[in-house]
């Protein structure tokens, strides 16, 4: 597993992605995001504030969840 998919999805400025990728190994296990476990249910607003999405609403379809930041 690695970052090629992330790069293709985000089409990000390479500086942003590679720099923060090298800074720390993503380790979501501590937060309950580990392989084989259910994701925590969260309902969050979209960045434009026009609607909300609960992760539970997305069940029934395969999902790629991208956690990132623009910095």
């Amino acid at each position: 597993m690695g970052y090629p998919l992330l790069l293709s999805l985000l089409s990000m400025t390479f500086v942003v992605v590679t720099a923060s990728s090298l800074e720390a190994s993503p380790d979501p296990q501590d937060a309950g995001w580990s392989v084989g476990r259910s994701v925590p249910d969260l309902r969050l607003p979209t960045i434009d504030g026009t609607r909300t999405i609960a992760l539970s609403e997305l069940r029934g379809t395969k999902l790629l969840l991208i956690q990132f930041a623009s910095w």
């Binding site: 923060s20 995001w33 960045i47 790629l64």
Partner: protein, 385 residues
């Protein structure tokens, strides 16, 4: 990947871990992302670092973290769900609150906490003050809880960026984030929040240097760039700065002859020390504004506002004379905006305390009489680590 989404075989959703959603909106507009992005300023996901991609099956189980593209096509799409798929009924989730609220008994501090978070995330409270007070109180009552400290910092910065900003909101945010990071030094999401406003040398890479290019590219496509609620400060833009030994700038009022602004104008300072490293380096943020109701505004027909800095036990990385509005910037003749500038400062070796004294020189007008004059506003910033 787009064809999979269009065929309904795959859903892509983003979650951004940053304070300002409008910045992510601009980024998404620039990159032409066509999938929804959620906002998690309080780090409710608990993620410790980004970026990361999770492949999640139909039942909501994580099947891979950081998968490669080929694995998506070759394996993920064909995987059976690990559990029976239990799709939530429409309307079964709280419509405008966090799920966590319902998990705690009424009257418990946790219930109060998540209700306050809900109000801030969802904007359901008329005022930020009440929810912020709850988060700040919980952080104070439970000083060993790192997440509470981080969230209190986020709340303070939210109010700082709002019309209801209070003096010291920004400093309170920085202090809470620092406390959180002391408790959880491996939390890179939290560290980034400090580094965003910290000294340039503490940044592992430029954080928001992409903004101007994004705006330019978006305009070139004939679109209007998403407007930023909080404009970028110099501390958020440039990557490195070197400390210099002496200034060649000329002090604008060495004899102290200019009329003092007194209570007509206010200066607020925020000190953000580096998130990591032993060197006591900080970014100092200044915000200058006409005091509401005092009857004065900026006069932009003359020279721009200048700030003179004098260090005591501190080395300055910037010019001693800095401009809050760079020469050549076009402004309305009269304005009353808050003007912000930042500079890096380092305590002298071995020192734990230092001061930066300075003053702003600017042109202002009395709204009642129309008289315009040059004013001086003195300030002192204490650096203590």
């Amino acid at each position: 990947m787009r064809e999979l989404r269009e065929a309904g075989e795959l859903v892509v959703v983003g979650i951004t871990q940053e304070q300002h959603p409008d910045r992510c909106r601009l980024y998404a507009q620039w990159q032409e992302f066509d999938w929804p992005i959620l906002w998690d300023p309080f780090n409710l996901t608990g993620s410790k670092a980004v970026p990361v991609v999770l492949a999640i099956d139909e039942a909501g189980c994580v099947r891979a973290i950081g998968p490669e593209t080929a694995w998506i096509y070759d394996e993920f799409l064909g995987l059976e769900p690990l559990q029976a798929v239990a799709r939530s009924e429409a309307g079964s989730e709280p419509a405008n609150t966090l799920v966590e609220v319902a998990r705690h008994a009424p009257g418990s501090w946790e219930r109060d906490h998540y209700e306050a978070l809900s109000a801030l995330v969802w904007g359901t409270s008329e005022s930020l003050d009440g929810p912020l007070d709850v988060l700040a109180r919980h952080a104070a009552e439970r000083p060993a809880d790192a997440a509470l400290a981080f969230r209190a910092g986020v709340a303070h910065r939210l109010r700082y960026d709002s019309p209801a900003a209070r003096p010291q909101d920004f400093q309170a945010a920085v202090d809470h984030w620092r406390r959180a990071l002391e408790l959880r030094p491996d939390q890179y999401i939290w560290m980034r929040r400090i580094q965003q406003y910290g000294p340039r040398m503490d940044k592992p890479y430029p954080f928001y240097d992409w903004v101007e290019r994004a705006r330019s590219d978006v305009r070139a496509r004939g679109e209007t760039p998403i407007e930023l609620v909080a404009e970028l400060t110099p501390a958020e833009l440039s990557e490195k700065s070197a400390f210099r030994e002496a200034s060649t700038a000329t002090e604008p009022d060495p004899k102290g002859a200019l009329e003092r602004a007194g209570e007509r104008f206010a200066v607020e300072s925020t000190v953000a020390f580096a998130a990591r490293g032993a060197e006591p380096v900080a970014s100092v943020h200044l915000a200058l504004r006409p005091v509401p109701g005092a009857g004065y505004h900026w006069n932009n027909e003359a020279e721009p506002l200048r700030v003179w800095l004098a260090a005591d036990g501190v080395r300055l990385a910037e010019r001693s004379l800095v401009h809050a509005v760079e020469p050549g910037t076009t402004l309305e003749v009269n304005s009353d905006e808050t003007r912000r500038l930042s500079f890096d400062a380092a305590l002298e070796p071995g020192a734990s305390v230092g001061r930066v004294q300075g003053y702003a020189v600017f042109h202002a007008c009395d709204e009642a009489t129309g008289v315009c004059l040059v004013l001086r506003k003195d300030f002192e910033v204490r650096l203590e680590r």
